[in-house]
């Protein structure tokens, strides 16, 4: 598992270095992002006047942890036309999608970086540092990393009291159990919880049978939720009537989707919130 993760980090480093050396002519002045995770990085690392646009999701408080900071910056959907009008000198995109817009931007001579998804705090740290380099904000990036590491260390100290670590299972959208290799797994472990999915050898995410959950419930069940007035079918899994029978054995914790998805270093907030909620049920 560890070797797999470090390989992941190495590839991230390689990717970022490639782009960074490509266009180090000077500081980027007009930066646009069409990806929610990149939005967060940009908002943390770059001054506001350098940001010409963010993804349209950046201002959504349910999805974007820095939605307040994003207010007032134009939100775009990532079409070629938008890019043509904005004429950014750097475009940040997600690891997949927006293929045509990205190709178009490259043809226009815009530097493009596909920002990888952080599936652990180690990856979040690497991405922050690399992006700091790209955006000429190395110092700011280092500060953020130090802050994240300190908070993680603090959490680890607090969680030491819990021995053995209480078991937890987290379900993402669609009712999929979150296994190793996901940010949710990292959040659980950072919060001092033991992810049951690791014992079940769930890598990434997997549909779990409700029966399995019912017959051996973990101490905590974590459900992430999208808009409360816009439920998805995945919610029906964790809200199944049969689970009422184990309510006294399995506590439900809820963390907002914004602090899990596409949040990188900001996910440490989710871990802190989770630890706090879990602590209320611990002796």
């Amino acid at each position: 598992m560890v070797s797999c993760m470090s390989r992941g980090i190495r590839s991230i480093v390689a990717l970022l270095c490639l782009v960074a050396t490509h266009s180090s002519a000077g500081e980027y002045r007009r930066i646009a992002s069409i990806n929610l995770a990149a939005d967060q990085l940009l908002l943390q690392l770059a001054d506001r006047d350098r940001i010409v646009a963010l993804s349209f999701l950046a201002a959504d408080p349910e999805l974007s942890p820095l939605s307040e900071e994003a207010a007032g910056i134009p939100g775009i959907r990532g079409s070629a036309e938008e890019i043509l009008t904005l004429r950014p000198d750097l475009l940040l995109a997600g690891p997949h999608g927006h293929r045509h817009a990205v190709e178009f931007a490259r043809r226009m001579g815009v530097a493009v970086i596909r920002v990888p998804v952080a599936n652990s705090f180690e990856e979040a740290r690497e991405i922050l540092l690399q992006m700091g380099e790209v955006l000429d904000a190395e110092r700011r990036a280092r500060e953020l990393v130090i802050d994240m590491d300190e908070r993680l260390r603090a959490l680890r100290l607090k969680a030491q009291a819990w021995d053995p670590a209480p078991e937890a299972l987290a379900f993402g959208h669609g009712g999929y159990a979150q296994g190793t290799g996901t940010m949710m797994h990292a959040i659980l472990e950072a919060a001092g919880l033991h992810n049951r999915a690791r014992d079940l050898e769930i890598v990434h995410e997997k549909r779990m049978s409700l029966e399995e959950l019912l017959l051996s419930p973990p101490r905590f069940l974590i459900a992430t939720r999208y808009h409360p007035d816009n439920p998805t079918r995945g919610d029906q899994f964790v809200n199944h009537r049969a689970l009422r029978h184990i309510e006294d054995r399995m506590h439900r914790l809820e963390i907002p989707l914004a602090t899990v998805n596409a949040s990188g270093n900001l996910s440490v907030e989710a871990a802190e919130a989770l630890h706090e909620q879990a602590a209320r049920h611990m002796p």
């Binding site: 959208h173 669609g174 019912l214």
Partner: protein, 332 residues
């Protein structure tokens, strides 16, 4: 063989098969149970978790499969009898697609969060619209135009479903709905079953009422009419019954195709091609087939859940090819 013994054999056999498959399906899960133990657990106390699993997870799942399969089999038999066309099926005619569209509308506008009845009602409305459209498009038309109309209605429903998903505020909607459309009865609760049951009961009842009319329709519309049947009433019964039965079934289990095509076909010779007796037999057969398919899915050592609609399509599509081949030979 007398008619009575024949009936006993066919319906007794189908009933027994269905009961057996249903029993097996409550024995299968994370923990395998003997049939005796499963039955005993049905009546176990609240604190026996395995009992809770059987009563509130396995039983509603089995009930959903029985209900949906029975409904689809019955609707297929009615549609084939009404159109006198062995290729008619609620899936091929776009009724399932229409129902899915209705349900998706309710799901992703969030309406169903406030009114839980919205989901079956959405399915019902979608199925009704699709059925009306098909009837309006085809009238007395033959096989080719019926299937064409079905393709047209299905495509329209699929396009509108995509449109709804496009406008959905939830970025995960697309992925979820793709999975849901593949059809499944996993993790259904009694709440889900209870919501659709009244509609489906009404629909099934109305569909059964069409039996004698369908039997008379074997001789064509004019003769059926001269035998004292009102074709107008029969048509409305078919439309309403199909919509009431198939719409909520789709809302419960997603779009599951081919059950209504295959089951009446397999059973028709056993009932000497009587369109009326075929109805009850197809309902039983459909229930057995879908519950059996779901049982198979649970037994398959699949890492990801194998979807029910995929399973029925894997069996149904080759069967459809075979039917086309057969019909091509019969009507060169």
């Amino acid at each position: 063989m007398s008619r009575r013994t024949e009936n006993c054999l066919v319906f007794g056999g189908l009933g027994l098969l269905t009961a057996l498959i249903a029993l097996l399906s409550i024995c299968v899960g994370t923990v395998f149970l003997s049939p005796a133990r499963a039955l005993e657990l049905l009546f176990a106390g609240e604190d026996e978790l395995l009992g809770v699993a059987v009563r509130e997870l396995r039983l509603p799942r089995t009930a959903s499969a029985l209900l949906v399969g029975g409904t689809l089999g019955l609707a297929g038999a009615v549609l084939q009898g009404y159109t006198r066309n062995p290729l008619a099926d609620s899936g091929l005619l776009g009724v399932n697609g229409g129902a899915a569209l209705g349900a998706v509308l309710m799901l992703y506008t969030g309406t169903f969060a406030h009114v839980s009845l919205a989901l079956p009602l959405g399915g019902l409305a979608g199925a009704l619209a699709a059925t009306l459209l098909i009837v309006a498009l085809t009238g007395k038309a033959g096989i080719a135009s019926l299937i064409l109309a079905g393709v047209a209605v299905s495509s329209l429903a699929a396009a509108l479903t995509s449109l709804v998903l496009n406008f959905s505020p939830n970025p995960y909607a697309g992925m979820e709905i793709v999975h849901w459309l593949l059809g499944s009865v996993a993790d259904r609760s009694w709440d889900h079953v209870g919501l659709v049951l009244p509609f489906m009961t009404a629909g099934v009842f109305i569909l059964f009422l069409t039996g004698p009319g369908l039997r008379a329709l074997s001789l064509g519309e004019d003769t059926a009419s001269s035998l004292g049947f009102s074709l107008r009433r029969l048509r409305w019964f078919v439309i309403l019954g199909t919509a009431l039965a198939v719409g909520p079934a789709t809302a419960l289990a997603g779009a599951i195709g081919f059950v209504g095509l295959v089951v009446p076909h397999l059973l028709r010779p056993l009932l000497r091609h009587d369109p009326a007796r075929l109805l009850a037999a197809s309902a039983l057969g459909g229930a057995a087939l879908l519950t059996g398919a779901d049982l198979l899915i649970q037994l398959l050592p699949a890492d990801r859940e194998f979807k029910l609609g995929v399973m029925t399509a894997l069996v149904g599509a080759p069967f459809f090819f075979y039917l086309i081949f057969k019909i091509r030979k019969e009507y060169p």
